[in-house]
Homo-oligomer: 487 residues x 2
Amino acid sequence: MRAKRETTLLIHIDPAAPIPLYQQIYRQFRDAISEGRLATGVRLASIRSLAFDLGVSHTTVEQAYLQLATEGFVEGIPRSGYVVAHIDTEYMALDRHVDVGLVESTLVDRSRDAFFAENRAGAQVPFDFSYANLQPDAFPANEWRRILSDVLYRFDCPELSRYEYTDEPSSLTSALARHLARTRGVRCVPEQVFVQAGTDGALSTVLQLFDRERDVLGMEEPGYATVHEVARRQGFRMTPLPSDQGSEVFLSALDRAKPRIVFTTPSHQFPTGSLLSLDVRTRLLRWAEANDAFIVEDDSCNEFRYGTAPIPSLQSLDAFGRVVYLNNVSKTLAPGLRVAYVVLPPYLLRRYWELFNYAHPPVSWLTCEVLARFMEGGHWDAHVRRVLKSNRRNRDELLRHLGAELGETVRVSGTDAGMHFYVAVRNGMTQRELLESALAEGAKVYGTSRMWFSRPAPEENVMIGFSAISHDRIADGVAALRRAWRG
Amino acid sequence: MRAKRETTLLIHIDPAAPIPLYQQIYRQFRDAISEGRLATGVRLASIRSLAFDLGVSHTTVEQAYLQLATEGFVEGIPRSGYVVAHIDTEYMALDRHVDVGLVESTLVDRSRDAFFAENRAGAQVPFDFSYANLQPDAFPANEWRRILSDVLYRFDCPELSRYEYTDEPSSLTSALARHLARTRGVRCVPEQVFVQAGTDGALSTVLQLFDRERDVLGMEEPGYATVHEVARRQGFRMTPLPSDQGSEVFLSALDRAKPRIVFTTPSHQFPTGSLLSLDVRTRLLRWAEANDAFIVEDDSCNEFRYGTAPIPSLQSLDAFGRVVYLNNVSKTLAPGLRVAYVVLPPYLLRRYWELFNYAHPPVSWLTCEVLARFMEGGHWDAHVRRVLKSNRRNRDELLRHLGAELGETVRVSGTDAGMHFYVAVRNGMTQRELLESALAEGAKVYGTSRMWFSRPAPEENVMIGFSAISHDRIADGVAALRRAWRG
DNA sequence: GGGTATTTGTCCGTATGTATG
DNA sequence: TCATACATACGGACAAATACC
């Protein structure tokens, strides 16, 4: 490229200004070029001549030119000079404060959204019957901090400075494999266990092992809205499997629709709280084997059974490698940790490694290491016992008061397990009216309508949880519900 | 259901055994039913009669029966008795140690995989010229631990016990928005910032905002293999955009293929290390606006520039809301933390909230909170300076020795920025031979062939990194490379 | 047209005030 | 408090490009 002519741009510098000299020069050139005052191809003053004019060292000018060159405003021709590069001056003049209005309107829309209004401001209500959150002080902060200090003191944590790959068994996958074998009868080696970023992330990963075009996901209805949404985002078609009309209806829907993947919550159906019997379990497994289907067993909440011991997992009955075991630490330790895990059967394990060659584990090594030590040190079992005890106390209290205050008006089910009751309120109110009248009395209960996706949701069903509310507020909370629903 | 006849099953219990009495009873019934020794419909001994026979309390037997009932082995008929439920005894007899062979063979296959052999055992080699890992002691463990203790001491961390939703601005998104505005000129509000589980996770999320059927992803070639893999898993078609033949070839490929999404690394192209000039940047942005396309700007590694100050981000030039800004803390703080973040432009923000209604943030609240305080406390800037300094020292050392020992044999590029050099070795060896001969001398360099996906990769290009190796091993490492490549 | 002087960018070391640890 | 490192600014030496004779 040849220079057309030399610049006549006048540069001013102020040695007293707080801005470095080379930056003052740089900026004046940059702005002149951006605004089109220096046209493409124009030759800049030579480093030495400009330095002489300004009374500074030539290296100072050099530094300014170098910065202009790396940012693309000028082009350096070796040992010859600098010329102005091609710059779209029209573009550079455009205002970049774009579409802030769209951001703001989107934010406002969100804040009005019913689901968020329901779930977000829970803490601000006197009686929050949340079905998923835990007691505010449930997290074993002291133990966690101690273990974390041990890990960080140990030595310099080279693991944190390395990219790991998902086929390296870790202390956490080993601890989980042992724990699952002991408490849930799950048979696996650590290499089958994958730690994931929450249930959403786990499910996302599992779905990616299948074929969007051909494979259909069978979804419990009513069921987790999150699962429904993840499947939609992942581009999978869904077929509803009625979960509130008994197991025969469930199984025959399965046989009609023949999904490739089936999402189930066998040990505690969400939200109804029902339980898949042993007979249905074996029929489900046989069906999966006969139809080359896979079952995702979401075993969340299995720890909380009131009356009987936890029942064995579906995976432990699986003789064909048809079950993906899925669980998380959100209900027992902390939702805020975002730790879930899946156990893949052999076929899907192979498929995983075809598709996740360059994938890294999605959860912090530090979190995994601390959790592994927490489990291996026996803190996990002790902690689950504590949480179970608290949940049982709250459950009994809530059940007692619901019976006493609203005995005639409500039909309560799903009381054997989990962190909430599935309650039909028979006072003629719509779901919206039920939630809003309760809220007006300071009590927050939760709607179920988003858990249906193929047929209209029954109006009268709400969820009343007992995991987050403090024990001594339950009585007053139920009194508030009575005022709201029985006048 | 009516009972056929009563059981004659003999139950033994041992009060001295470590197993609870009710479990001894439960297990004997369970096994008998599983194995078919008690047929469907058979009536169990009544609770009181069995209790009398065994000499235990009737509540002990009741507990055993209850467990059998919840697990589905028996059915309780109210005020009548328990009968054996329908059990698929044939199924229950199946061996459940299935397909362990498949698991094991998959594991063996993996351990032989070239990529994993290359990336996994890095630490065991005397001279690891890794291009992505950090110094083993790079993580600021003391500061991190102190902040973490502050957070956990503070009070009971109710945030850990709650499910959050992704539209709640957090201390981290606020800190990131401020930091990005200051150091990269990125204009955004915290509500546009989304913390994600690593770059893989971030990219996954971004892709889900598009249409798999219609939208094509334009991918730099050579470029990140991870991006390629994520796109494949997400079901997106890809079109290659040559990144090693100058910007005109890049832009014309763009104009021919017209992808909807373009993945770029403008401030430090991976792996070539080249830089997108200002002119190309504006042309890219104009092109995106004219073609209704979106650009994903991976700004990773922008912090490491040797010689000149970091150049402004593409997002800061974006007048149309066409750029998704993407970065992570893996190169500066720790890959093991798995923290990345995206800044969505208004249109994609709206799209996000259509699809991620029930999504939770994928990163631990604890990690986010500590990182936010780390940044707000000024530790981030100081730490980046430290890492930059270490990288610069290593870069200079490596460049010096490469020139001295292999000056004739290699052509080194991409030296202005990043954590590695892009090196063409001109000694006639294939890529495999280059890597293996180096490894035989104890030096690990990294292949580039997986970064091409539509055309054959040049054999002679390897990456030689300097971010993980210790400073005083570089000289010996390069000597090893000389022995390997020049005999 | 070829040798030479000059201009040019580039690379080197160094001094100084400031920020960092 | 003090040593260190860094950003800034400076001047000199060098070699390639250019202009001149």
